[in-house]
Amino acid sequence: MKYLIMCEGPNELEIINILLRHDCLKFTRDDLLGLSAYHARQIKSSTIVKTNLNLYPGSVNILRVGDKLSERLVVPSEYQTKVISIDKYCTKPELEMLLIISEGLTADYEKVKSKEKPKIFAKKNIKYGRHSYKNDTAFYTEYYGNNPHLLVESIQEYHRIKGSHKKDEHYLAELLK
């Protein structure tokens, strides 16, 4: 059995890759389909996921990583016997919550959260070196790439303060070692 990690966007993928690189997760690359996590919303439209499912003869547990993941994941008929389970790991309302937590801006964001999405708040308030946050993957690489402990702490803190996930919405913290 392997895990098939499907990240909703390139930023989620980078977060997972940083955690993998620093061995912060309950599993390693050896446990992943094709030794990688993937940026893919649906199997049908992702040739890289389909290729790797074709190469692996065993079964897979799908771990979806994204904000809300409200879109249903459709498993094409040819892969239905291969897929054992599908679980969602969410960072609601947006992945930028992790940056807000890392910057210690949670209380400030709480004051404006009814009218401002985390992405907009992060663009206005978060900088790393001389770079303002612009919803770019490179920012996550620079911000957390050499500081995985900050990322792990922020994921744990997110779990602590965001206890309102629905029953089928897991926390990234559950994937940490």
């Binding site: 966007g9 390139p10 993928l13 094709g34 990688s36 940026h39 893919a40 919303r41 049908k44 439209s45 992702s46 040739t47 890289i48 389909k50 290729t51 790797n52 074709n54 190469l55």
Partner: protein
């Protein structure tokens, strides 16, 4: 350096203005940027994989011959030992190098001395700085300035030398003929030239034949083969019978693939399905799409008759259909057809959307004659 576009006149039996655009044309989704494309400069994307498909004798090999011709000029600054006439071939090659877009034009002729070399005549190089804001007009004449004559070279050496300076492998072309017993000599040369480790070599051998534990070169034509049962000293001709020509070609191609991925040069394979099991082709394609593996901007370019392979492509602009109607032309699946992206590409081929189906009447004529 990355090849961006080539146009040719009088090249083999191609129609005039035969061109291949290697710059990504259609919409680039974030998934495409992750797996299908490589960003060689800010907002300038080329492909990780490119495919040429068509009927037999439609000109697929001619298309990759033209790319090989460009890479020989850009890598070795020479053209020699090609299996086509150089006379009066006009080339216009665009490439990206160190922040600049270059346009190189030349007309070829055949060297009168023995040996199959091309002479470069009427050569010009134009350059312009690459700006992200102008990336829609990369190929436009606007902004290019002709570079002054930079020196004198032998006429069989291209003036591209003055831009790129050092000979280097830009691409390896593996044609569909194979190299027979010489494959092993090439294979060990590749291992040494591209510093491929013994561990990778043994891993590749195991993929193709689990019974082989090791192959070691003794001299140019003799090898030590260790299987699970015995150790043998064998000649290259014996080795090819022992391992089968498919395994031999497969091992060489996988070694060239590793060299390409590690060194960032392109790999051109004519008739990829001739050499491999489909799973091994799928694996190759997935390695070129993986940024953790393909870190140096290598591209896999291949021809195929096997349309199912194209279902592994997320885009359409990196697929060309070769057509021959007296002269050879290329159609691009994105630019020249309106195919809904969610449809399986192989189904379109079976529906003969691209006019690539084998002639049914001729098949039935043969069947009638055999009845």
């Amino acid at each position: 350096m990355k090849l961006l576009y080539v146009t040719a006149n009088h090249f083999k039996n191609c129609k005039d203005h035969f061109h291949i655009n290697l710059i990504a044309q259609s919409k680039k989704t974030s998934e495409d940027k992750e797996y299908e494309l490589q960003e060689i400069a800010e907002d300038l994307y080329v492909y990780n994989t490119m495919a040429f498909i068509g009927k037999n004798a439609s000109g697929k090999t001619t298309a990759v011959d033209l790319l090989d011709c460009c890479y020989s000029i850009l890598g070795e600054f020479r053209l020699e030992n090609k299996h086509y006439s150089y006379d009066n071939v006009y080339l216009e090659i665009f490439f990206y190098h160190d922040g600049f877009i270059y346009k190189y034009t030349t007309t070829l002729s055949t060297d009168s001395t023995p040996g199959n070399k091309a002479i470069f005549t009427n050569q010009h190089i134009y350059a312009k700085k690459y700006y992200k804001t102008k990336n829609k007009s990369i190929l436009a004449t606007e902004g290019f300035s002709v570079l002054p004559t930079l020196g004198i070279l032998p006429e069989d050496t291209s003036i591209v030398f003055f831009i790129l300076g050092k000979k280097t492998t830009r691409a390896i072309y593996y044609d569909s003929f194979g190299e027979g017993a010489d494959t092993y000599s090439l294979l060990f040369k590749a291992l040494s030239n591209y510093n491929i480790t013994e561990s990778i070599f043994l891993n590749i051998i195991q993929i193709f034949d689990e019974n082989i534990q090791d192959i070691k070169r003794i001299d140019d034509h003799n090898y030590k083969l260790r299987t699970s049962e015995q150790l043998m000293i064998v000649s290259d001709k014996e080795l090819i019978y022992l391992l089968s020509s498919g395994t031999t070609k497969g091992i060489l191609l996988y070694i060239l693939m590793v060299a390409s991925l590690q060194n960032g040069f392109d790999l051109i394979i004519d008739e990829i399905e001739n050499h491999f099991h489909k799973t091994l082709v799928e694996n190759m394609i997935s390695l070129y799409k993986d940024k953790n593996i393909n870190q140096n901007h290598a591209t896999l370019i291949f021809t195929t008759h096997y349309c199912e392979i194209l279902d592994l492509f997320n885009r359409q602009d990196n697929i060309w259909i070769a057509q021959s109607n007296g002269t050879i032309s290329l159609a691009n699946m994105y630019e020249d057809y309106s195919i809904r992206p969610e449809l399986l590409k192989s189904k379109q081929f079976y529906n003969n959307v691209f006019d690539t189906a084998v002639n049914y009447e001729e098949l039935m004529n043969l069947k009638r004659k055999l009845m």
